[in-house]
Symmetry: C2
Subunit: 203 residues, 2 copies
């Protein structure tokens, strides 16, 4: 019957999600390499044999997690593209991204992705394509900001986009390491700095 096929498909999706949730939790605690399959299995409440019905191997799980983490951020960039004030749009993007990463424990996961991307080719390509995508969004906004301002652009748009992302990645690192960090305050001063850098043009 058609219905049964559909429910089984749904079921498989659910199982994959259960596994991913479990794996995410383990990876946050011990990192990609120091997490064993047995750990993931027990966190998912599942036997090893069964888990391997849903993922080909450990690498596939890691890939899925990295993809998922990345996918959560992209919409933020697209949503704010239509904001009328481009500088404020940029500020909002960075703030939203930071919040999105730092709610829960995704920041640690992202740090793990960064480290992995620096040596694993597949992960590097993922990071770079992700980076390209979101920096294109930023550059569009930066161009609008420079034009709208009516002054000679003292800003190197390419460089500015790089620095915004670096600032974000650095902030994620800090938040995920230092337990005493005050996210609210951090975000306030971050916004101020970005505004200062982007709005004030000097000869």
């Amino acid at each position: 019957m058609v219905l049964s096929v559909e429910t089984s498909y749904q079921n498989a999706l659910n199982k994959r999600e259960v596994i991913l949730r479990a794996a995410r939790q383990c990876f946050v605690q011990h990192g990609f390499h120091a997490t064993g399959m047995a750990e993931i299995c027990s966190a998912a409440g599942m036997s090893a044999g069964n888990l391997y019905r849903y993922f080909q191997n450990k690498a596939a799980i890691v890939r899925a997690i990295a993809d998922e983490t990345r996918a959560r951020i992209v919409p933020v960039y697209e949503r704010l593209q239509t904001h009328q004030n481009p500088v404020e749009a940029i500020v909002q993007i960075i703030l939203h991204s930071l919040q999105e990463f730092c709610r829960g424990t995704d920041s640690r996961l992202w740090l793990e992705v960064l480290a992995e991307a620096s040596r694993n080719d597949e992960m590097r390509e993922l990071y770079i394509s992700f980076d390209h995508e979101i920096r294109e969004s930023l550059k569009k906004l930066l161009r609008r900001a420079v034009k709208g301002d009516g002054r000679t652009p003292g800003i190197d748009i390419e460089a500015a986009s790089v620095w915004l992302i670096a600032l974000l990645d650095g902030a994620i690192a800090r938040v995920s390491i230092d337990p005493h960090v005050d996210l609210e305050k951090i975000m306030g001063t971050l916004a101020a700095s970005i505004r200062r850098c982007l709005k004030v043009q000097q000869a």
Copy 2:
């Protein structure tokens, strides 16, 4: 004999350094957890049994590497403390640090340290104490900059120090992941941004 003790001590130091150099190389390639002791042994041209005479275990090697990496940066901060122009001193510090990390492959190692610090308590303490130390240096300079400027400080000194380090960490991540990055250009625009943020105070 006194001399023999001394040379043997020297010898042991050399051996430790040989091992650390080898380990560093391996860690850069595969990270702390994915690097095996056998790998380090063969890179150091040494048997396992012998290597364990110089380090208690793998964790001790990791600790030593992290310490070493950190120790390489601290002097930069101290050296520039006496610079007469505090803003330029800050710019120089950040630029030097970036260069120090990105010469060779230390940037990857630092990324590894960051990821590890987010979950391993010992590494976290190392990072935080390091961070505290260098931010104290930055804060001294920032205070001088604010006073010297003679204007009402529009800058939150604590926050500014945090953001400078975040910027640095983010930049390190980028350099170590993206092979196409132009370090010279990056450093130029970084300096400009910092100057803009720190020098120009607005109501």
